[in-house]
């Protein structure tokens, strides 16, 4: 099976800090890869390296067989890479519908040409994430959970082949997490590949085909969710060394 995304010995240094240190992994079409690790492990940097908002210090990123590490972010999104931001980035002055319409107007393959079509698409994706009733509101009037949904709808409207989700469940309560989990299942059933960064282990366990763990920028474990989450090294990284 040909991987849709291959990360090959990828390294990112910020001055003296090595945020991502020689990490390699592959992501297969239609699968969900969970990316976990303590705060500061380099998860968001990894997403930024793949989406193109940060340039790598060394290593390769290969998407659908072609190297993309030298491309600016907008070209990668046209190839079919969509992402959400952990620190959400809505367009505050636009209403919710038009926020999502921007995704439909650009995104994969350059997107829709006509504003009308893009708005129809946007309405579809807002309903998909359960935000249909807020279309006319300004984005900066939304509360936290709805902003998360908006991030997701904006990324989906870009019609991505690969979706990078950076903590879309942080700050949500149980019922809301279940909703987002079922949305991500629906996304997967459309054939979209997902890289899922999350601290909510219940969701990682339920959704991921495989799990990858970063710690201080290096990969410390990779494999099936149950095996990885019970790996003593992973438990140590999250909870600190057991002193008993």
């Amino acid at each position: 099976m040909q991987p849709i995304l291959a990360v090959d010995h990828l390294t990112k240094r910020f001055g003296g800090l090595v945020a991502v240190d020689d990490v390699s992994f592959e992501l297969f079409e239609g699968q969900i890869l969970g990316l976990i690790g303590p705060n500061g492990a380099g998860k968001t940097t990894m997403v930024s390296l793949i989406s193109g908002t940060v340039q790598p210090s060394a290593g390769k990123v290969v998407f659908q067989g072609a190297p993309i590490a030298h491309l600016p972010a907008f070209r990668r999104s046209r190839l079919g890479i969509g992402r959400t931001f952990q620190l959400m980035k809505p367009f505050p002055g636009l209403n919710v519908l038009d926020n999502v319409a921007v995704g439909a107007l650009f995104g994969t393959g350059g997107g829709k040409r006509q504003l009308g079509e893009a708005r129809e698409d946007a309405a579809h994706w807002l309903a998909f994430v359960g935000l249909g009733h807020r279309e006319r509101q300004r984005a900066d009037e939304l509360g936290g959970p709805d902003r998360k949904r908006l991030e997701l709808a904006k990324a989906l409207a870009m019609n991505p082949r690969l979706l990078l989700l950076d903590e879309v469940m942080a700050g949500l309560h149980h019922g809301e997490i279940d909703e987002v989990v079922s949305v991500i299942r629906k996304v997967q059933s459309r054939g979209i590949t997902v890289l899922l960064i999350e601290h909510v282990m219940k969701a990682i366990q339920r959704l991921s085909d495989r799990v990858l763990v970063l710690h201080h920028g290096t990969k410390i474990a990779e494999g099936a969710p149950d095996a990885v989450l019970n790996d003593p090294q992973v438990v140590d990284a999250y909870l600190g060394t057991r002193r008993v």
Partner: protein
């Protein structure tokens, strides 16, 4: 019904504006021409400042280049006005690309300061060019009658406004707005931010240069200090923001109102004019930072709360 009434009122307004040179006294035609040119400048600033969110202090550079291009073509090469103004506009577009590509990499205050420096630099450069008459300037051939310049300015403003109207509902315009609201998110969503910013800068430069060309021919004189005067750039920003930056008609409303207020103050109470003008601007920016357009849309619903909310949201 409301739409029909609106269209008729709009057509009547346009017709009246068109007929001004045949109905009004010369002083009013001159005031009208100045106001139309200022409105064109505010509207072109609106493209880069209002839609793309880049506070340009370099638009008066394009205005000056347009004026000088026209003057040099007519005086030094004996070309007709029509060709001169087009050459001036092309020169401005060339400069917009040349300067825009490096300068548009800067954001926020840094962009503003860099464009401010451009205006100063241009004054210095042009003052030392023989072809531009060095620091003395150039005298253009005289064309009698204000009607020609008035109608030309009205036409230019109409084209600039139609362009902004198109921008406001096009894919291009949505790209600019996304850049204004969050440039990183815009890039990740597939918008070629560098290209879009450069195009917005170029369009703003094009219309500013045409206004500069008309003005130079109308006044029949151009010199480095007044051609690249930064006060003019400040005026267009204030007019656009006062009326409502990032809207279609905001800059026009701002230009007409502020131009009228300044005209009345200047003739009635000369000494106090700039003081009053300054006060109007301070009050407007503090209480209605989103401009008149936003005030008219939202104040009827909110009442006095509108001002309180603005104070709360926009304080430092």
């Amino acid at each position: 019904m409301m739409r029909a009434v609106g269209s008729i009122a709009f057509a009547a307004l346009l017709l009246t504006l068109l007929l001004v040179p045949w109905l009004a006294p010369p002083a009013l035609i001159q005031f009208g021409t100045t106001t139309l040119l200022l409105a064109t400048l505010a509207q072109s600033w609106n493209i880069i400042g209002g839609y793309a969110g880049y506070a340009s202090f370099g638009n008066s550079v394009f205005y000056g280049i347009g004026g000088y291009g026209t003057a040099i073509a007519m005086v030094q090469f004996g070309l007709p006005f029509g060709i001169g103004i087009l050459l001036g506009a092309l020169l401005a577009v060339f400069f917009a690309l040349l300067l825009g590509l490096p300068v548009l990499r800067l954001r926020g205050h840094y962009f503003a300061i860099a464009t401010l420096a451009l205006a100063e630099a241009m004054t210095g450069v042009v003052s030392n060019l023989d072809i531009a008459g060095r620091n003395i300037g150039l005298v253009l051939p005289l064309r009698k009658g204000d009607a020609f310049f008035y109608e030309l300015s009205l036409g230019l403003l109409a084209v600039a406004t139609l362009t902004v109207f198109w921008i406001s509902r096009s894919r291009f315009g949505f790209g600019l707005i996304a850049i204004r609201e969050d440039e990183d998110a815009a890039g990740v969503m597939g918008i070629n931010t560098t290209l879009y910013k450069a195009l917005a800068f170029l369009l703003a430069g094009f219309f500013s240069a045409l206004a500069g060309g008309i003005h130079a021919y109308w006044i029949t004189f151009i010199d480095p200090v007044s051609a690249f005067d930064i006060t003019l750039n400040v005026m267009m920003i204030i007019m656009a923001i006062f009326g409502g930056a990032g809207t279609i008609f905001g800059p026009l409303v701002g230009a007409v109102l502020l131009s009228s207020i300044s005209e009345i103050l200047a003739t009635e109470i000369t000494g106090m004019a700039s003081l009053f003008f300054g006060l109007v601007i301070v009050v407007a920016v503090v209480f209605m930072p989103r401009g008149l357009t936003d005030l008219m849309q939202r104040m009827p619903g909110l009442g006095w709360r509108y001002f309180r909310e603005n104070l709360r949201l926009h304080r430092l």
